[in-house]
Assembly symmetry: none
Homo-oligomer: 256 residues x 2
Amino acid sequence: MAVEFGNIRIVLVETSHPGNIGAAARAMKNMFLEQLVLVSPKNFPDPEGKSKAMASGADDVLASVRIVDTLDEAIADCGFVVGASARLRAIPWPILHPRECAEQIASVSAEDKVALVFGREDRGLTNEELERCNALVHIPANPAYNSLNIAAAVQVLSYEINMAAFLAGEGEQPKAEFYDHPRATADEMEGLYQHFESALNKLGFYDPANPRQLMRRLRRLFNRAALDKMEVNILRGILKAAESGGKGRKNNINNG
Amino acid sequence: MAVEFGNIRIVLVETSHPGNIGAAARAMKNMFLEQLVLVSPKNFPDPEGKSKAMASGADDVLASVRIVDTLDEAIADCGFVVGASARLRAIPWPILHPRECAEQIASVSAEDKVALVFGREDRGLTNEELERCNALVHIPANPAYNSLNIAAAVQVLSYEINMAAFLAGEGEQPKAEFYDHPRATADEMEGLYQHFESALNKLGFYDPANPRQLMRRLRRLFNRAALDKMEVNILRGILKAAESGGKGRKNNINNG
């Protein structure tokens, strides 16, 4: 499968050790990946130069790193977001193994931007962060010692993405493509969820006593489906009509 | 394919940096591999404890390490020996990619001992050492920056060996599942789509001039997501609330 490496970014959330950032840059560059985004890194840039030492020649990846405050900023324009999760049941969410993950990323990268998100060294990603993802990826490992270094995890997943490209010549069957519109970006998905929340509030459907569970289930459903822009438009159109109680509202979406 | 992890050893030849030995031990243990053989390591055991620091809990692998003088000693009882080679044509020898390598190692491990050999950080394996191998393995990488850290290479190949075991079990073991409710039946899905149609009608959102396209898009979206029963309940609850214009309606779905 053709892989558009330039459409794939690695996102590291609140990494503590600059050495890990450098090692991740090295792992990436070996596998043709060069876009690194750091969300609120704890010690970067590091005056001691540990990140540079571990990058070992992948300094250009470090030099062009993008640093942002929130995960939402890091993934805003991405049509497909995968979160790396060490725990198998962090939250019940679609879970891929690395090969499936790489195949999906490779496939989506032909048309859309993709983010592969890694959490903190000690605590991984929060549930709120995992809920931003279309799918989670879990690297099968010894349950008695499941302690992959973050750069090792970046290495394994970057390797699998490159393997998808490498094996492309060996009789890969094209995937059935059903998207006739570009994928919705993470930003557009957040807009949809906010619309859901406010509309369900107005309808009195939303239970303020237990808000998380309902929204989480809606997030899981629609992230799993990986919506395109037209689908987001349709859903927002429905929400708008529902909010206004359907008073003479017309379907003004060109859902052709 | 069943993998006999106990028959597989990792051999590191003349490694310079003890930190790399520790990181390799960590990479191995994550993937169920525990037999580490060092051929004339340059700085091991290391009083500074760098190997232990990088092993990060895989100390038992370090503690049971076997140190020998020559590669021949390290592989003497092995029925299959694979050498990791960063250079593609170091010597003309059978070259596997990591997945082929892992499949062959997995297959041989059922009956025989196997060694996977990694060379020096700066110079890899000598031709004489490569000639000891049944095959070579090359990790596909960016030719403009082919600089995998030795522990990263151990990680990738150990991962592939574990993936051979993981995928072999996939037929029997259930896949990581996110469904915490039974899947909706086709019947229940039809009920949902009829509900959508009538609700959108009441809201005036549904365009009778072009009914097919909107419903088709909704079908495609929700069929793609393969809903569970709870998700159908939630969506029908929302539609019900929307139909009645949210007049004092309560969310009476137990969406726990």
